[in-house]
């Protein structure tokens, strides 16, 4: 017998968690002497009130789609990949190398090449912790944390000592050639008569991110590989009995996860900055955790959560611009979302289960 109907599990629990996070966030805004209603108004206008706002919202959402999917795929295999940050950094390195070393004739080819490079670099950075987990039993959470720091150090070294153009003081690569410029939403929508903001960074990568959502869904629920990933995540002894190799699945799931995280770089490095800078990822790897938790590791949920966080990031930037509320408010909201949808999940679930049990007894 089921304790709670599926709709409650899938919709009600995350929704209540979200509401709790929102209430606490409002209290935080109140506590620092600002008006939460006014703040929400500002955020909505700033993030959704213009194509400029939307352009930024979708740009951020694209990043979070990739990192959220990355965390989700690992979650399904029972692995907590906290290393999205490092994997996205390395993905950036891959993109920079692909864009600077190869003379691409056209942006479509460049995008293809850069995507492959980003995925390869991200996957490689996830593959080492995966291998250590699978073969040596090293806790993947700890190793992926360590690899974030190691990745940052590697990137720092490469940018300062190897890829910095002569004469530049900036720890960054040279600008990418004009041929690898990715079309922005403005450029894509103009031919069909939609006037999208020219200044906003959202670009063709958003479409790739959506495509990734669909592909991940197919992978997880429509292929035997996804079936094996989910089986292994639910029960390792059963997976072994079923002929599913723990080593193979750990490696494959983490490689896919790392590849997705790495692919974020085609958005922020190739699509926006058009060069690789030191802090290109800006915490998006960690936001992926919140996005995956809120989206219940389902690609559609991840899509919704990524849009929400895109909105929060753009709205938060607007807020910081017009009020005295710093951008860190968003970090607080992000923390509360992780707390309620991830760690305090049972706090919401237990009373609900009791409620449903009572309701059923009432029926019987």
């Amino acid at each position: 017998m089921e304790v709670m109907p599926k709709w409650a599990e899938v919709i009600l629990v995350p929704l209540i968690s979200l509401v709790l996070a929102a209430i606490l966030s409002a209290l935080v805004i109140l506590a620092i002497g600002e008006d939460p209603v006014e703040a929400v108004n500002l955020m909505v206008t700033g993030a959704l009130g213009s194509t400029y706002g939307w352009g930024y919202t979708l740009y951020y959402a694209t990043n979070f789609l990739f990192t959220g999917l990355a965390v989700s795929v690992a979650f399904h295999a029972g692995l907590f990949n906290i290393g999205g940050e490092g994997q996205a950094m390395l993905g950036g390195l891959g993109v920079a190398l692909a864009c600077l070393l190869i003379p691409w004739p056209h942006w479509t080819l460049a995008l293809l090449g850069a995507t492959v490079a980003a995925a390869l670099f991200g996957a490689a950075w996830a593959a080492i912790p995966a291998f250590l987990q699978a073969k040596r039993g090293s806790h993947i959470v700890i190793t992926t944390i360590m690899f974030n720091f190691i990745g940052a150090a590697v990137l720092n070294y490469v940018l300062v000592n190897v890829m910095r153009p002569p004469g530049s003081m900036d720890p960054a690569t040279a600008r990418f050639p004009e041929t690898v410029h990715l079309p922005t939403l403005h450029e894509m929508l103009a031919p069909i008569g939609i006037n999208f903001s020219k200044a906003a960074p959202a670009n063709v990568t958003f479409v790739i991110a959506l495509l990734a959502c669909v592909l991940v869904w197919f992978l997880l629920w429509r292929t035997w590989l996804g079936y094996e990933i989910r089986s292994y995540g639910k029960s390792e002894p059963a997976a072994k009995y079923g002929g599913i190799s723990p080593v193979a699945i750990t490696m494959i799931a983490m490689i896919i996860s790392g590849a997705l995280a790495g692919m974020m770089a085609i958005n922020n490095v190739m699509g926006e900055a058009e060069r690789l800078v030191l802090n290109a990822v800006e915490g998006a790897g960690f936001i992926g955790i919140a996005v995956a938790l809120m989206g219940r590791s389902h690609p559609f949920g991840v899509f919704l959560a990524a849009i929400l966080f895109g909105f929060l990031y753009q709205g938060g930037a607007e807020l910081a611009l017009w009020t005295s509320i710093p951008r860190e408010l968003i970090v607080v909201i992000q923390a509360l979302v992780i707390l309620f949808t991830g760690a305090l999940d049972n706090m919401v679930r237990m009373p609900l289960e009791r409620l449903f049990l009572m309701l059923r007894r009432g029926d019987a």
């Binding site: 250590l132 090293s138 700890i142 944390i145 690899f147 607080v332 305090l344 999940d345 049972n346």
Partner: protein, 322 residues
């Protein structure tokens, strides 16, 4: 490299190792009781802010320290609530706490001081000053041990001495007291503790709160002793290095001291590339040196140099079973 440079290097090793040591011992209490804590970083950061902020407002570093400890313990309570009472995922709770601290400290700092997320610089009684140990001057002229005593052992803030005293104290509590026996037992097999009539929840909360206390001191040290005030993200990954040190130390107090001193030395060397060049004749990038603790921990975790076996019930919420 001359003798004085060595002393200086070791002196900054001690200062950099202190917050690592406190946080590492904090994690040790928590993880020995079976509660993983990747939120050491966040608790340190919160404590760093609140101790600096309150010290700045009251002018008393001791009240500041208390405030820092209180803030850190509040986060511990939250971690306990999530991972003990509601049996949530301890790792996710730790991640949430890190972000909560990172966001809240800047938010409140901006609200209170409007200095872009920092506190005013601390002066006088709002800071922990170095303590000159007795006879440091008189003794200082004795060759060899004199300078060691005067420059290396004497002249640190009280928190440094507290941190080093915590090592034998932690060992004693863990291995010589009833509380320590129960604490270790609850991290290995909570069911054994429960059926013996001892509260698993109580023990784990106690451990988590001690963790908060020590992280609080660690954070306070950062902003009121090592530096003179709070700046955004000032814990700068130290909580994670402490976590690495804990694994490196295989969850043992004395090893924790050695591990944090080693990692402290890396930190000290990072600021003195000239010293490395003098010894090894090669130029090593500071950034790469900074990554060394993480690389070493990965190697340890991989079991290539002695396997680190964590407490057996670590990370698992306790559910009563027949």
């Amino acid at each position: 490299m001359d003798f004085l440079t060595l002393i200086q290097l070791l002196d900054s090793t001690v200062r950099l190792a202190t917050p690592l040591l406190l946080a590492c011992l904090a994690g040790l209490f928590s993880e020995r009781a079976g509660i993983f804590d990747i939120g050491l970083e966040g608790k340190m950061l919160a404590a760093a802010f609140f101790s600096a902020a309150i010290a700045a407002l009251t002018g008393s570093v001791w009240i500041g320290l208390m405030a820092g400890i209180a803030a850190s313990m509040a986060f511990s309570l939250l971690h306990g609530l999530a991972s003990i009472t509601f049996r949530g995922n301890q790792l996710i709770s730790g991640v949430a706490i890190n972000f909560l601290a990172a966001g809240l400290t800047v938010l409140i700092a901006q609200d209170w001081f409007s200095q872009g997320g920092r506190t005013p610089s601390l002066m006088g009684g709002a800071r922990f000053e170095p303590i000159t140990l007795p006879f440091a001057e008189a003794f200082g002229s004795v060759p060899l041990i004199g300078p060691i005593y005067r420059e290396l052992i004497s002249g640190h803030s009280i928190l440094v001495y507290i941190a080093f005293a915590m090592v034998p104290l932690t060992w004693w509590i863990l291995f010589r007291t009833r509380f320590g026996l129960r604490l270790r037992a609850v991290g290995e097999n909570p069911a054994a503790v429960d059926t013996a009539g001892v509260s698993v929840v109580g023990l784990r909360y106690a451990a988590v709160m001690i963790c908060g206390l020590l992280c609080g001191i660690a954070g306070a040290y950062l902003s009121t002793a090592l530096q003179a005030g709070f700046v955004k993200d000032m814990s700068a990954g130290r909580g994670f290095i402490a976590l690495a040190a804990l694994i490196f130390a295989k969850w043992r107090p004395w090893y924790a001291l050695y591990a944090t001193l080693l990692f402290g030395l890396f930190g000290a060397l990072e600021t003195r590339p000239d010293v490395i060049q003098a010894i090894f004749g090669i130029k090593v990038q500071g950034a790469l040196l900074g990554a060394l603790p993480y690389v070493m921990t990965v190697i340890i975790l991989a079991g290539f140099v002695g396997k680190a076996i964590p407490p057996r019930a670590g990370g698992e919420p306790y559910v009563k079973e027949r």
